[in-house]
Structure formats: C-alpha cells, structure tokens
C-alpha cells in the first residue's frame, strides 16, 4: 500500500475506474489540461485524452445537464463542480431531473453519474468558496450523498459511487485534501456506501479523574479530525468519546448511530454547515425516534452559525475542537 493524501487517492481512484471502464468520462471547468483547481484530475488528460477528460465552458447547469444526457446515453460521467458553492446554477438539473429520472421514467432511464465537488471551509475562501450544502441534497429523494474523511475511504467510496446504479453527490473536504494522509490500497478498493466507520470506541475506564461518562460524537469530512482532537482532550478529563465518521451521509447508517447512542446515552453532532436545517437536525430527529429512551442527555449540535461563511472569522465559525470539547463535557455531566 502506498501512502497518499486525499487528492492523490481520489486521482488514483479516477484513474483506476477510467482504465477499468471505457464509459467513464470526467468533465468540468479546468479538469483537463490544468488538472482541476486542486489538481485532483492531474495527469488524466494526458493519459485518456480530451474526449474522456473534458474542459467545459463555465456553466454548471450545462455541465450537469450534459452529464445527465451522457448518462442517459450509457456513459458513466463524473462531472466536477469546482467548488460546491458553485453547484446552485445546476440545482434544478440535479433536483428536478437527475434525482427523479429513474422514478419519473418508470425505471426506463437511470442517470448513473457521480458529481464530485470540494466542500467546506479551511482555505480562507470566504462565503463563496467554503459552504457545506450537503443537507440541501440529502433532502432530495433519489440522491446519495457521500463525504469521506480519509484518503483510503475517499478512494473506496469513490469507486463504490461510480459503480452505484444511482446518482451520487461526492463531497470532498478541501480542508484536508492534502493534510489527510494515510495508506491506500492499490488497484481495486471499494468501501460500501451507507456504512459508517467507528473512528474511536468509547471505553468505560476513561480518565483517572473523570466520571467515566461516554459520549458519541458524530462527524464527517474534515470535522472528523476536530472530533478526534476534542476526544483526546476529553479523555484527559475523564470522558470517553466514541467517534462515528458517517462517510455516507445518505443513506445514513442509522443502525451504527443507534447502536452507539444506546451504548453511550449521549450524543454530540458536529458539522460545518449552519445549524438550522443542517443534517444534524435530521440526525437528532432520527435519534429521538429510535433511541429516545436510551438518552441520558439532550443531543447537542456543534455547527457553523446561521450566517454567511465569514472570511476573517473562519476559525470561529467552524466547529473546531475548541468548540466541540465544551459540548462534549457539558453533555457528559448533564
């Protein structure tokens, strides 16, 4: 196994699938000769040519509309939206067309494609290069939504997404594009969609001075690392955290969540998106529906604020470890 960062792992995954399946094509703004603004598609243009790695005009609606058409024809397009903040001109194509294609055609047509797009803050991109719109797509029946946190998962989930029969929104946390590193299996490597990963298990014997309380922390993407940092500090204060990395946001692995919440009785949910109507709200509702009697404390959300994403206050806006830790401790002692 090679050690790769997330950019390299996704690039490796794209190359693997393009070599395996000649129907796979990549299209988007600057994905060809330049290799994408984050260089995720670097080298693919040289290897596969301009008919399979396609630089498009600057029109997200056109990119997704054409990608849907390619999928209808039988190709497996992987359009890139340069930043998830730019996805909204294509929202109608994704929500009204792509997500409903199989249903409204009675199964005659399914648009099988993977929309890749960098998501979240962490690069001082401000309000138009930092947003986390995942809940807007989770809300739409007919779409799957993925957000990896490790290079290994990024490759494995990408391959699984490409081979899935339905459309997938593949959010890539740009904050950890190069910061997250790890061993990634070479060649074939699939991670099943819809399965969360237990990053860290809660134990009863935590902390010499603490209460021994346990807290489930649910996170995804770049915030998994913030959850880990907060958990390490909480451990020193006698609180043991069980961290769930959802990996696939929809369909969500509710069984893993319920199992963990039943074990710990306490839950903190972390996401970058604004709190109101963020995915955390749905998770709280699901937990209340399925594990209410096992809760020892109210579920808590640590999220972005209900404001536009700021330029200068990025580290205050993001739910970093320094904001997660107090929430964990408060929940533990409730």
């Amino acid at each position: 196994m090679a050690t790769q960062n997330m950019v390299q792992a996704i690039n490796d995954g794209l190359r693997h699938e393009m070599q395996r399946d000649p129907r796979v094509v990549v299209l988007g703004e600057d994905v060809g000769k330049v290799g994408g603004v984050f260089r995720v598609t670097q080298g693919l243009y040289d290897e596969f040519g301009d008919e399979r790695v396609i630089d498009t005009p600057l029109s997200e609606g056109g990119i997704i509309g054409c990608a849907i058409g390619m999928a209808l024809y039988g190709l497996v397009p992987i359009p890139e939206i340069q930043f998830s903040d730019f996805i909204f001109p294509a929202y109608d194509q994704i929500v009204s067309e792509l997500a409903k294609m199989r249903y409204r055609s009675g199964g005659e047509y399914a648009a099988k494609l993977v929309i890749r797009t960098p998501v979240g803050g962490g690069i001082r991109g401000g309000l138009y290069h930092s947003q986390s719109p995942e809940s807007l797509f989770i809300h739409v029946a007919g779409l799957k939504v993925v957000c990896p946190s490790t290079p290994e998962d990024a490759k494995g989930l990408l391959l699984a997404s490409i081979r899935d029969p339905d459309p997938v929104l593949f959010f890539e946390p740009k904050r950890i594009y190069r910061a997250a590193k790890g061993e990634v299996p070479e060649g074939e490597h699939l991670v099943e969609l819809g399965k969360a990963r237990i990053v860290r298990e809660a134990t009863r014997s935590s902390g010499a001075t603490g209460s021994g309380a346990q807290v489930t922390v649910i996170a995804w993407g770049a915030m998994v690392y913030e959850a880990i940092a907060a958990a390490e500090e909480a451990e020193k204060q006698g609180v043991s955290c069980e961290i769930l990395d959802l990996r696939t946001l929809w369909p969500v692995d509710i069984d893993a969540i319920v199992t963990s919440v039943k074990k710990t009785g306490r839950v903190v949910i972390v996401h970058e998106a604004p709190k109101t109507c963020g995915f955390g709200a749905e998770l709280v509702a699901l937990i209340n529906e399925k594990a209410f009697l096992h809760l020892e404390a109210p579920p808590v959300r640590v999220t972005g604020f209900d404001t536009p994403f700021p330029y200068t206050l990025e580290n205050d806006y993001l739910p970093l470890a320094h904001r997660i830790l107090p929430a964990v401790l408060e929940t533990a002692k409730f």
């Binding site: 008919e51 005009p57 056109g62 509309g65 024809y73």
Partner: protein, 299 residues
C-alpha cells in the same frame, strides 16, 4: 421547397401516416373525455403535428428524440401504442414518451432542461463514435431560457450531433427575432422551414442529420407555424396524397388504418378506463381549432 420522400422510404411514410392517425384519435378522444370532466395529460398535436411528424420521419432508427412530453405524434411514429397512452392517462403505466427502446424521453417540467440533456446524449454518441443524432424539440418560449443557451453553446463547442427544433407559432412568438438567428452567436448551422409542411420539416431535419453524421455538429432549426394555415393544411391529407400518388395507398387502406386505431383505443379504454369506454367514438376528422404547444396555453 417541400421535399418529397424517397420512394425507398415509402413504408416509413406509411408508418408516419399511421402514427398521425393514432395521435389524432387520441387527441380527439381526450377532448371528448375532458368535456365530460376527465383530467387527462396535456398534449400538443394539431397545429404542430406536421412539424413533429416530419422531423421524426427524417431520423434514423438509432437516433434519439428528447421533447417536452406533449408532442403526441413523436412516440407514435416510434412505435408507441394507443394502449400505452391510455394506460398512462389512467395511472396504470409510465409515460410512453419515456421509453429506452424507442430512444425517446420527455421533460415533464417543460423548462428547457431537456435541451442540455439532449446535447449530452448526442455528445455521448459522438464520444463512442456512433452514427447517432439527437432531435431536441421545444416551443418558442424555451429559447429565452438559460438551458437553451447552455445547450446550444455546449453543442457548438463540442460539435455534438444535436438537432434543435424550435416550434415557433407565428401569432405567439416570444420576440421579433427568429430563433434560428441565435445559431450564429454559437457558431452553429441554422435553417428556417415551414412548420405546416411535413415534407419541408423532414427535408430540413434530414439535412441537419447529414450534417451531424458528417461530424459538422449541431443545427438549430426553426419550424415556423402559421396558425391560420395549420388549420387548413391537414398533414394527414398531405401524406395521404403523397402515398396515393406513389400507388402506396388507397381508400381501403385509409379506412383500415382508422378502423384499427379506433378499435385499439376502444379496447384500451375498456381495459384501463371502463367508464370512459362507454362514451362516443373517437374521430380523426380535422377540427377548426388549433392546439398550440401546451406551454403557450399554460402561459
């Protein structure tokens, strides 16, 4: 100048005639049922049928059609049955427009989203080096949407084998400019044809098809439909005369085609909507009113 069908395509022309008869029967029957209070799918046939049927006739069997879902003649010319339409209207089957085997797909929203999708289908065929063209039909109002401009732009940039057919009803044009004029801005070919003339549209689409097959990319066609003429120039009569002049059709043939269609819809109604089957028989006689594209009616 109206093009006439090559004699080798007379069997296809006969199928077009049969398709038009079925579209007429369905439209007529739906009008009767709506007067009795039925809520049935929207459709646009009479008035635009010559343009739609002529365009579909000019395509090859492997070509695709993406439309707004109201254009009745197209699925019939590609083999759809009256039974499928009746089953769909009464909630017993999906929209027969959306059939992979026939390579037809409808955009239920009628907001132009299918224009870029059609380009994608054409682009996919080009990438796979298949001799396939894609006809994308829409009414005049769509040319004011961003989707239209996205689609034509992408098609022009990548020389996708797409044929855009804009149906312009002259009394209700979106603006004074001709839709075909937009083609110059995107560097693609264009043509204007008489939308009341089956053969004129077939000829224009046939030329665009050849251009697509030659790798020259897309064409933006504008079929201009004069409502006053469309009410008088019956596409069925035009086709019938052409077939008769080639000795390919006679009165007996005409009666049999209409009888088959009437039986087919009666059988379908008795199966999927027994209550409706008891009402009056459908007719293919021309009506005085024109049915303009549904989007126009809605607006």
């Amino acid at each position: 100048m109206a093009a006439e069908a090559d004699d080798t395509r007379l069997p296809h022309l006969l199928e077009s005639y049969r398709g038009l008869v079925r579209a007429r029967v369905l439209e007529s029957r739906w009008a009767e049922l709506e007067e009795k209070g039925a809520n049935l799918p929207r459709r646009a046939a009479r008035g635009v049928e010559a343009a739609l049927a002529g365009a579909a006739f000019a395509l090859g069997a492997e070509d695709w059609v993406l439309g707004e879902g109201t254009e009745l003649p197209v699925p019939f010319l590609r083999g759809a049955t009256l039974s499928e339409f009746v089953a769909h209207a009464f909630g017993r089957a999906p929209n027969p427009w959306n059939a992979r085997a026939r390579r037809t797909l409808a955009s239920d929203l009628r907001n132009g989203a299918h224009v870029t999708q059609g380009v994608g289908v054409a682009w996919g065929a080009k990438i796979e080096r298949r001799d396939v063209a894609v006809l994308v039909t829409f009414d005049d109002a769509i040319r004011t949407t961003g989707e239209f401009h996205n689609g034509v732009n992408f098609a022009g940039v990548f020389k996708a084998p797409a044929i855009f057919l804009c149906l312009t009803t002259l009394a209700q044009e979106a603006s004074a400019e001709r839709a075909a004029d937009f083609a110059a801005a995107y560097g693609i070919a264009s043509a204007v044809c008489d939308g009341c003339d089956f053969f004129a549209v077939a000829h224009a689409v046939g030329d665009a098809r050849k251009r697509a097959a030659s790798g020259l990319g897309p064409t933006l066609l504008e079929a201009r439909i004069d409502e006053a003429r469309a009410s008088k120039d019956d596409a069925l009569v035009s086709l019938r005369r052409h077939l008769e002049s080639r000795g390919f059709f006679d009165v007996e043939h005409e009666a049999r085609t209409e009888s088959e269609a009437a039986s087919e819809i009666a059988l379908a109604l008795s199966e999927f909507a027994p209550g409706a089957a008891a009402t009056a028989t459908a007719s293919v006689a021309p009506e005085s009113r024109i049915v303009v594209p549904t989007r126009r009616r809605t607006e």
